[in-house]
Symmetry: C2
């Protein structure tokens, strides 16, 4: 099965288990809305690609790892869109969860997604419990405290922030969890895979900063100019677009170079390159350069 179909099937199964009999209907609808339709599903794709590169001998465990990472990503989007953070009306081109269902259900749906992520791992763990427990710890570390995406987001509430540390935690920590957990699911040498996740995650955050300045809001599926409006740390606004693009290209090159030698290496390098062109389309950057010199 193609990776993307495998991920959607596994996400559907996890969500179906959560919205079972007796569930409050509006909470069930909010949960579905938070997960479907998805974005690029890049984190679980990366997780499964690494599991495949490591032999993928426990596909159900790799699926669970990919699902957990994606559900945690969705939870972070739902909570980051809340009025007290970004107050975002749109996400992925549709109403954000709090816009569609209200703030209370957005808080609760995010909470339920975090629980569901861990429970998906516990459910898939029984055949290879030691592997599963290791990858649970990896994924929890990527999302929680002291150095997961929750901690990254919390740096926005501190009087002083180191920009690179903020970038690394806010996005890179969950990307690194995706690659390391993918390797752990397949019994691979997991620490060899951390740098790939970290570099790609940081590239992703830098690309997010760049798109927030130069993208077309309709294509992006959410408003632009939010980093300045909300006073968020941003490479693009603090160091300028050219410096941000140079950093982005360095990070993508570092991610490509970080792919360990293995049978799946060419496929993974191609995935990283394709993703980098999706993140900052070359045509978009060319347009921006033309505007700058006009």
């Amino acid at each position: 099965m193609a990776a993307i179909a495998r991920i959607e099937d596994a996400l559907l199964a996890a969500v179906a288990g959560a919205i079972g009999p007796g569930c409050p209907p509006r909470l069930a609808a909010a949960l579905r809305h938070a997960v479907f339709p998805g974005g690029a599903r890049i984190r679980p794709q990366l997780c499964l690609a690494v599991a495949r590169a490591c032999g993928d001998d426990q596909p159900a465990l790799a699926d669970a790892a990919g699902v957990a990472v994606e559900l945690l990503h969705c939870a972070s989007l739902v909570h980051d869109d809340l009025p007290c953070f970004d107050d975002a009306p749109l996400r992925r081109g549709q109403a954000s969860v709090h816009s569609a269902f209200g703030e209370r259900l957005a808080v609760l749906a995010g909470d339920a997604l975090i629980v569901l992520a861990s429970d998906t791992l516990a459910r898939a763990a029984s055949d290879f419990p030691q592997r599963a427990l290791q990858l649970m710890r990896t994924i929890h570390a990527g999302v929680g405290m002291p150095a997961g995406i929750v901690a990254g987001q919390a740096w926005e509430c501190e009087p002083r922030v180191a920009l690179r540390q903020y970038q690394r935690l806010k996005t890179g920590s969950l990307f690194a969890a995706a690659t390391v957990a993918g390797a752990q699911a397949a019994g691979g040498a997991c620490e060899d895979w951390r740098a790939l996740g970290e570099c790609l995650g940081e590239a992703y955050q830098v690309a997010d900063d760049i798109r927030d300045v130069i993208a077309d809001p309709e294509h992006l599926g959410k408003p632009i100019g939010q980093d300045v409006a909300l006073g968020r740390p941003s490479v693009a606004t603090e160091q300028g677009l050219d410096a941000a693009m140079a950093l982005f290209h360095r990070l993508v090159a570092a991610a490509v170079a970080a792919v360990p030698a293995c049978r799946g290496a060419p496929m993974l390098r191609a995935l990283v390159r394709a993703e980098s062109e999706r993140l900052v389309p070359p045509a978009l950057w060319t347009e921006q350069r033309l505007r700058a010199v006009a």
Copy 2:
């Protein structure tokens, strides 16, 4: 070691791991504030009492189960106190987390507590992984969807609510998780312990409704009259105080009767009775009756 000291030590160790090097200082402070000083710690006490009654042959696992349940309870308080729910300025006699640290850090601290709860279980699991995985599933079910405390809270967002179902999920589901997980940690016959948790949890919610009408706010550590003010379902306001007290006494008697035959049964029955007098102090109820006939 006395159960309460054992619980505080285990909570301190779990929180210390989360606020380690690199953690944003204000998030670390918000997490500590959410967990310490605690309330009665009734859920972990119950969990450990059941584990002891079942032999407590894996005390570290029982501790982890108690800690996870308490951290999830703390997370639910932090999120329930948010402006979009109860907008509560006080909790346990001190400022609520959002009052002290702002709404954003309250959302993030609650999220981090949920992650920390599951991670505490994963960390303690390696010696008895199958037991640990079972009790993880129990605790996740008690907190998540479709029938944990998150679902209970979400019934407040539905146009129609069945009062008993709301009461059972909003509080009973995490109490039931505490008793069942306590038995699972010690390899006991876990389903025998579910009714005790369910009855005591429902009694606890009914007591909460009663105290919201008749308690002294200073003694309660939070404002009273909130069920009416916020339009929350409440046995005390919907059926009257006398009917609520009668239901409370029936539920406590059912909890006492639900304690399975075992060496620790007398201690557990005594714990339930003592807790019931703490929940609705007989003197408070006598005062209320005197006021009613005056």
